[in-house]
Symmetry: C2
Subunit: 335 residues, 2 copies
Amino acid sequence: MNRIARGSFILSSKPAVIGFASAVGKKESEGPLSGCFDREFSDNMLGEESWEKAESHLQKTAVEICIEKSGYKKEDFDAVFSGDLLNQCIASTFGLRSLKIPQVGLYGACSTMALSLLCAGSFIESGLGERCIAATSSHFSSSERQFRNPLQYGGQRTPTAQWTVTGAGAVALAQGGGKVRICSGCIGIVNDLGVKDANNMGAAMAPAASSTIVRYMNDFGKRPSDFDMIFTGDLGFVGSDLLYELIKKEGYDIKENHADCGTMIFEREKQDVHSGGSGCGCSASVLCAHILPKLEKGVYRRVLFVATGALMSPTSSQQGESIPGVAHAVELCAK
Amino acid sequence: MNRIARGSFILSSKPAVIGFASAVGKKESEGPLSGCFDREFSDNMLGEESWEKAESHLQKTAVEICIEKSGYKKEDFDAVFSGDLLNQCIASTFGLRSLKIPQVGLYGACSTMALSLLCAGSFIESGLGERCIAATSSHFSSSERQFRNPLQYGGQRTPTAQWTVTGAGAVALAQGGGKVRICSGCIGIVNDLGVKDANNMGAAMAPAASSTIVRYMNDFGKRPSDFDMIFTGDLGFVGSDLLYELIKKEGYDIKENHADCGTMIFEREKQDVHSGGSGCGCSASVLCAHILPKLEKGVYRRVLFVATGALMSPTSSQQGESIPGVAHAVELCAK
């Protein structure tokens, strides 16, 4: 029995990471992780006619490089688990349709990279498939106009606002091989403390991150120090500080070995990103450009990857709703 | 090894259906399945302030009745797999947040009921959880204004147009018990034959339905006559006829034992629904009001449930894109 507690489980077959890839836009390729991404585009349109099509192109690029790096062909994959932020997840659907891989659509907002790893891991664990792919993407311009204002409007951004990453990540999983394994996971419970400020996603997601990390530690009887690093998805600077406060109340201190993907991908002052990066592609591209390479090299031996999502829509906010958050946790181990 | 072919698999533990429930609106409760639903609302607002909140209420109602009928409590469920048609899947997120069940968000458009059953089935099969729920919903008014026109506009509908069902369905799965089992499944490949008419979803989805049914039959070495019934999701009258044509070219005749949920839920002429019902809640509510009860009673022994989805968004259509379709298949067997 792999079940440990509600939503917490061990993957006893330890699904192996047999390939991974990231693809990002211009701003991301000029940040602290410059040179670490598999593909860095200098034009955020990627030669397409719209930002939405550019995002599809970006996700497809990450998936194609991931497949290539795995040493397999697209026909060798049993399923792809993917999602994105766009209405009806069109970045994933249109981006991957030409690959003709059986496709499972997910929606977890910016938590999607962890969610897709858990669903793909469950699929491998159950023996329903031999090899599959987990992927996601986001694009600054397609997100900005869908969730906030027309880009041309040029509105002033608040200090708590985050900058949606133009980026995609893809991870190939299999029943064996590779140097990194998925060892356990925890599916998040939707958490809503009543935050209504759509310009402060970090505050909406921090309670969910705290809740999932605390559940994970309690369910598995672990301490934060059991991990080389705990990475959260995209809380940014504001959300990370809130997480430290919230989790301290639960008896845990994670400051020593925590980093947030939203604070890693941009230089805060120089790149004018206010509270840091966000978007599905933020944790996905940092996972594939920084975390997995360091696990492969043995720099990290054990990492908890906790992607976080804010589950509102412009419609729900206009109707006066608060912003529910969710966070899913994946334990990644070097072999 | 449960894998049969790419995306096709046996669930050897045969996850059991331990509860199911449907909740629908006024028009649905006046149709041919009147009296078969667990809850029939006479007011499509359900006492809420908006159609979106009404849809959340509807999905929550189905999940709560499903949990009650299973004999368990919400705390006994390890995860809920759900999604809907609304931007950022807010019907599911907001609808189920108060239940505090670990939540996996899915997006498969109107194929979501089959997709959620397959993902929940994989989760049970892998032993990651003991009990989980698969659920989805749709609402005529929230869909109509999001995908088409303001309701007040009162635009003329084409003969090929379908009527989005105001309905929700929820199915509880467990490692044992129950009278109905999930025996096998097939994850759909996104299929795009270039259909661009957003008022003819049946035509966009029929190729996906044909593709998945053909893959299922070929992969498992079965014939349509091996099933008491093959139910498609929401092709409607126009899409069903297209499916017969397409699948005949592949050497299969399914006319004898096929029914489409979109043609079952409304009376075509009397209820003025043109090509029939559609929406995630169409196949979900017909599954829970008709198919599962008949499997429980042994009227059907073996059924192939093939929910179909059209994966476009208003943005993709405005950008000149065609409408990709997807269909996922689930084999349901009486014990």
